[in-house]
Symmetry: C2
Subunit: 249 residues, 2 copies
C-alpha cells in the first residue's frame, strides 16, 4: 500500500506521500511517489501515485517523455492550457497503461495493475486545483466541501483530518496535521513508512514551493510522534469516564 | 460493514458492537450483533459477529438450537468444558454454514457469505479467554501482547486503541476508550452506526455482567463525541508547528 494526502488550503496546496512499496511483507522497498512538472512563472503541477508501482512509474515516464518529444502532435502536460485538461491527459495515460498490461498475454487480474493518482497544481490564468484520478481515467475535483483527498491506506489517518482540518491554517500547521495523520497510519500499518516527501505549493506562485523529505530520525517528526501519543492519552484521560446506570444520580 | 471490539483487561473482558447492517448504502437496517450463552456460576460466553448477516444469524441460531436439543449427541456450547473447545465448535459451525451456502446452487462468490466472529468469556475452572474466529473456522487467541481484537471496519478506530489501551484500566475507562474508538469510526464510515451494544464481563463472576445499549441521544456518548473533537483539536494545537529549514536556527 501507500499513503498520500493532497490538501487544498486558502494559501495553496500541501502534498505529502510516503515511500514504501511492497510486494508481500518480505519484499519492501523505498520509492518516491511524488513527481513534479514545472515551468516557473507559467505552471507547477504535482502528481502523487498509489497502486501498482510498474503502472505508476510508467504513467509518470510517459508524461515526461511526451512532454520532451518535439514531434509530439497533441499537447502535453507541460503545454496544456488548463488543469482540467491536464487531469484528462493523466487519466487517459493511466487508463492506457493499465489497459496495455491487462491486454498483454490475457492477464486476468486487472485490479493488480490498478493505480490511483492525486494531481494538483496551477496553470497561469487559472486557480490552484486538486484532482483525484481513478484507474478508469475519470476523476473528481476537491471543493470547499471536500478540500482534501487521500489515496492508499486512508482510514487510520482520516479521523484527525476530519477533526482538525481548517482551510485557513498556515502551511506550518498543515505540515503538522499531515505528520500526525501519517504517524497514526505508520504506527498501525506496515505498508506505509518513512521517509515522507512533501511539497508546499504557494497559491499563485506558479513555481515549485518548498519540498523536502522527512526521515525517521527527523527530530520534529519524533517530537510529533511521541508528543501526539502523550497528548492523545492526556486528552483521553481528561474526558469524563463512563458511568454505569447504577452509578448515576 | 460492522465494527466490534473485544478487549481483555485485568478485571475482565469488555465487548462492544455496533448495530448497522447494510446491503448497499440504500438498504440499511439495525441488527444486534452480540449474543450471550450463560449458565450462572458455571459459564458466561459472548459472541460478536461481522460479515454476512444470514451467515452470522444462522451460526448463532444453530449454536442455540443445538444447545436446547436434548437428543444432541455431541456436547454443545452450553456444555463443552473449556473455552478452547467452544472456540472450536463455533469455528466448525461457522465453516459449516459458509460451506452450505457456497455449495448450494453453485454460488461462486464465496467471500459474500463470509463472516468473522469474536468469542470471549469464561468457563468454571478456566481463565477468561478471548478468541477471533476466521471464516475458515480456525482462530487466534488474545494474549498480553495483543489483548484486544477488532472485527469489521477496524482501521479508523485503531490508533486510539493502540495509544490509550492499558490492561489495568477500569471498566469505566474501558467504556470511554471503546466509545472514542467507535465514535471515530462512525464519524468516518457510514457502514458503522449507533446504537451500540456492550457487555462488561467481570473476571471469575461466571455470569452475565453489565449489559446495555447506547443510543445516539445518549448524553454521555454525545459528551464523548463532542468532547473528543475539542480535545483532539486542542491537543493538536498544543503540539509545536512544523518549521521549514529556513525558519530553523
Amino acid at each position: 500500500m501507500t499513503y498520500c494526502v493532497g490538501m487544498q488550503l486558502d494559501r495553496g496546496i500541501v502534498f505529502m506521500s510516503d515511500t514504501r512499496t511492497n510486494a508481500g511483507v518480505d519484499n519492501i522497498s523505498t520509492f518516491r511517489k511524488m513527481a513534479h512538472f514545472e515551468a516557473p512563472g507559467e505552471r507547477c503541477i504535482t502528481l502523487m501515485t498509489a497502486g501498482n508501482l510498474a503502472t505508476t512509474q510508467a504513467v509518470v515516464s510517459l508524461l515526461q517523455e511526451r512532454s520532451k518529444s518535439p514531434e509530439q502532435r497533441s499537447p502535453d502536460i507541460e503545454h496544456l492550457p488548463t488543469m482540467f485538461q491536464v487531469a484528462q491527459l493523466v487519466g487517459q495515460t493511466l487508463r492506457e497503461v493499465i489497459a496495455r498490461h491487462d491486454g498483454d498475454g490475457g492477464q486476468k487480474a486487472s485490479s493488480a495493475f490498478n493505480a490511483t493518482i492525486l494531481l494538483g497544481g496551477q496553470i497561469k490564468g487559472g486557480a490552484p486545483r486538486l484532482f483525484l484520478i481513478y484507474p478508469e481515467g475519470n476523476f473528481i475535483e476537491a471543493s470547499d466541501d471536500t478540500p482534501y483527498f487521500q489515496i492508499g491506506e486512508t482510514k487510520y489517518g482520516r479521523p484527525i483530518l476530519v477533526r482538525a482540518y481548517d482551510p485557513a491554517m498556515s502551511f506550518e500547521e498543515a505540515m503538522k496535521l499531515l505528520l500526525v495523520s501519517f504517524d497514526s497510519t505508520i504506527k498501525a500499518n506496515l505498508s506505509v513508512a518513512l521517509p515522507l516527501d512533501f511539497h508546499i505549493y504557494d497559491a499563485d506562485s506558479l513555481k515549485l514551493g518548498r519540498t523536502g523529505r522527512i526521515h525517521a530520525e527527523d527530530a520534529y517528526f519524533q517530537e510529533i510522534s511521541s508528543g501526539w501519543g502523550v497528548a492523545l492519552r492526556e486528552a483521553f484521560t481528561n474526558l469524563p469516564d463512563f458511568r454505569f446506570p447504577e452509578q448515576q444520580d
